[in-house]
Amino acid sequence: MSTETLLERINDYAHRADPYPLYAELREHGVARQNDGSFLVGTYHEVAALLHDPRISSDVRHRTDPDEVRARSDGLPPSFIAVDDPEHDRLRRLAMRPFGPPHSPGRIDALHGALVGIAGELIDGFRGRDRIDLVDDFAYPLPVTVICRLLGVPREDMPALRAWTDTVIASLDRSPGEETWERQQAGTAARTEMAEYLGELADRRRADPADDMISALVHDAGPEGPLARWELMTTLTLLMIAGHETTVNLITNGMLTLLRQPDALERLRREPELMPSAVEELLRYEPPVQMLPQRTPLTDIEVGGVTVPRGAPLYLMLASANRDPLRFEDPDRFDPARRDNEHFGFGSGVHSCFGAPLARLEAQVALAALLRRLEGPRLVADPPPYRHSPILRGPRHLLIDCTTKDDGAPGES
């Protein structure tokens, strides 16, 4: 009998490859108070209610534990993902101006051709090899190239950005350990360096605009005026990291899932028009963001018959809610044609994923290209080695044995 709390077991790397039995246990418990005073919610309707409740804060400075507040008060102020309305609303709205409707409705669609091209070139690079690492050879470079192109980050700076991103992601991991404090310090430092880099890049674009999102952010401010320089820095850092990190896992989890389910893979080859719905199912079945660990009630809140006190750490377990049998029929089955699939793969409510349209398009294009061109793909190891984070969960490597076809016209059989 385990004496660890559910949260500790979920954080335990030993459960990374398959946390779903733990989530099932969590749903049995309802709203579960942990020994450290935090609360876990893993049932769909309760997660939905909390995601939409205006009394739930995304700003950890509202926590009652002074250590947590202090840990997050170092360095730069938080970006819009970690603050509340009305500040969140204003920052997100200004960031949306050059990215999506109503001011830039065509920005993502216009990327389609470039995305197909990038995916095709990466797959061209597989030729002559019978083993690839899907993560390093494809799922990582694809979204990084796209977000750099979209924002206007020079290619040669990508390695530095990768190093900063890895350090920031490692610092999000709240699982206990001796190096927690060091990880956090390193994360704060990396985030600050990255923000300074992006701030300087924005200064250059202010003087010398190009056709990219950073230029649009500094030049087309709209009636509310531009972002302050520090706001621009935190916003760009957020867009840069969130703009690729989770997509790597979405593509990798996608291929892993399809290789485990040959029927689904074959069906998608036969019916490529199912790809959009298959990607939605993937977001439900293996969401790249497994939980939202940053929520805090601003007042005592009752949920599922339990009172979560003001200031307590509240974990919304999205991946668990996505498998709740009270909401989804046969939830542990991967069904690429599933209907009525209102999953939390992108969260929900005011903080719902800013980049969702881009992530959807990237995953659809990437998986379609892989299915079209990889012949006889086979997993080398199952489960594959995972990255450390229980929050942004995905394989560190995904070795696949296969041969690579030349690209015919899409739809050619």
Binding site: A48, A49, P54, R55, D89, L298, T299, S352
Partner: protein, 455 residues
């Protein structure tokens, strides 16, 4: 039983949003029989919300405001043909061209039409328009393109306000005349009515509340201006009559069904009532023409002019037309609608007119971003957001669970305790425009139906 229900002849009268979605649902749920849609407009179903918004801004042509088909429906389309009656004994729909369409089950989705200017002679003046159909919107867009010196909008409900917004966005001078105390007040009450009045004036609308247009003036058959009840006059080249909608029920006058000016009454399963209050089992209703009981609003019969209601009710009606009794579903969706005007997105859940008090639960009037929550006798019955639509899901839950009003304080963007004020929903009789949500009492019979003002 189920086998029989998926066969036979179904006629849908009304070929707009509700009719189309019902037809698609019938086929999706396995109806394999003969399906006929009758529509008095010559076009296949199209989408009306853009007609008072994007079409008037010239962003999209009226003819391009199509509705995406969800699936093929394999139906006979009788378009440009008006239905003139129903014979419930022989089970036939009578057509204005003399034809008769036999049915086993009938769906009535004839919607509404624009309420015309009451003086027919003035209504015929060149420059006097209503906006309901594709042709109407194309005609108004053309008038606006021509650069009129002033547009008069009569009635400041949602349609009138959206039209005024489009005019201002195009830089046209516009006068809005509303008999009530403020724009949108009939649908949203006093707090947001006052907000809308300030908004319109800030956008340069010449807003005149508390007056009526007593006559439209013309010369040589052309509109030249209007006279108001206070004796003042304005000059205008275009007058848009936005006095609300009339339900298309006249054709049912001899049908024996509970049809009247408030709509055709039906039960929670979308089955029509006869004029004696007896429920039928072969005539169904959906969309703007329906009056249906809603448990969240004390089972009063609601008449809604909402896009979302047309879709949801059509789906329920279609499902029930091909399902045996125990498998039938009630239409219980919480009403919701949206509007865009003067750069704002306004969205509503619940029935704001079913209220006695309101409070600003999030944001503020000063910011121009807020959520107003409505309560009736101590429970939450509606919420309206201005540029804050993503929060409405929370309030929908509160409405569905009859949560106490005012809602618990503590929202991040409204730290201070909420101030509760009367909702000030006026009696519809004092407004220029008809209500888009009407609470029409408990009784299905058209002669017994009573209008109960909210509150």
């Amino acid at each position: 039983m189920t086998g029989e229900l998926t066969q036979g002849r179904i006629v849908i009268v009304g070929a707009s949003l509700a009719g189309l979605r019902a037809a698609e649902t019938l086929r999706a749920e396995g109806f394999g029989g003969e399906l006929t849609l009758v529509g008095d407009e010559p076009h296949p179903p199209y989408d009306r919300p853009p007609l008072s918004k994007q079409v008037l801004l010239g962003r999209v042509a009226a003819a391009d405001a199509g509705l995406p088909a969800r699936r093929p429906v394999d139906a006979h389309w009788k378009l440009g043909v008006r239905a003139s009656g129903v014979d419930p004994v022989t089970k036939e729909v009578l057509l204005a061209d003399g034809g008769r369409l036999p049915y086993d089950r009938l769906l009535i989705a004839t919607g509404t039409r624009a309420r015309p200017w009451p003086n027919p002679e003035e209504a015929r003046l060149d420059g006097v328009l209503t906006v309901r159909t594709m042709e109407d919107a194309a005609g108004l867009a053309e008038r606006l393109d021509a650069g009129p010196r002033r547009v008069l909008v009569i009635g400041a409900g949602f349609t009138g306000s959206e039209i005024a917004s489009a005019c201002r966005e195009r830089g046209l001078a516009v006068t809005v005349a509303e008999r009530g105390p403020a724009p949108l007040v009939g649908a949203l009450g006093g707090t947001l009515g006052a907000f809308a009045a300030r908004l319109q004036r800030a956008h340069g609308v010449h807003l005149r509340c508390g007056v009526t247009v007593t006559s439209l003036l013309g010369s040589g058959g052309r509109l030249t201006g209007a006279e108001f009840s206070d004796g003042t006059r304005i000059e205008a080249d275009v007058a848009v009559v936005a006095l609300g909608a009339v339900r298309n029920t006249e054709w049912l006058a001899d049908s024996g069904l509970a049809a009247g000016p408030r709509g055709l009454a039906c039960d929670a399963g979308c089955r029509a009532f006869t004029m004696y209050g007896i429920v039928t089992d072969d005539v169904f209703v959906a969309g703007d023409v329906a009056r249906f009981p809603h448990p969240l609003f004390e089972y009063q019969m609601l008449s809604l002019e909402h896009w979302g209601n047309a879709v949801e009710q059509a789906e329920v009606a279609a499902h029930n037309m091909v399902s045996p009794g125990p498998r039938r579903r009630p239409h219980l969706a919480v009403p919701a609608f949206w509007s865009s005007q003067f750069g704002l997105n306004i969205k509503s859940v619940g029935v704001p007119t079913f209220s006695d008090q309101v409070t600003i639960a999030q944001g503020s009037v000063e910011e121009g971003r807020l959520v107003v929550v409505y309560g009736y006798r101590g429970r939450v019955t509606a919420a309206v957001s201005v540029n804050r639509a993503k929060w409405l899901e929370h309030y929908r839950r509160l409405i569905e669970t009859a949560a106490p009003f005012p809602p618990a304080p503590g929202a991040a963007d409204r730290p201070e305790a909420p101030r509760v004020v009367p909702s000030d929903v006026p009696d519809p009789k004092v407004l220029s425009h008809g209500p888009t949500v009407a609470l029409t009492g408990h009784l299905p019979d058209r002669r017994l139906a009573v209008v109960r003002p909210a509150g």
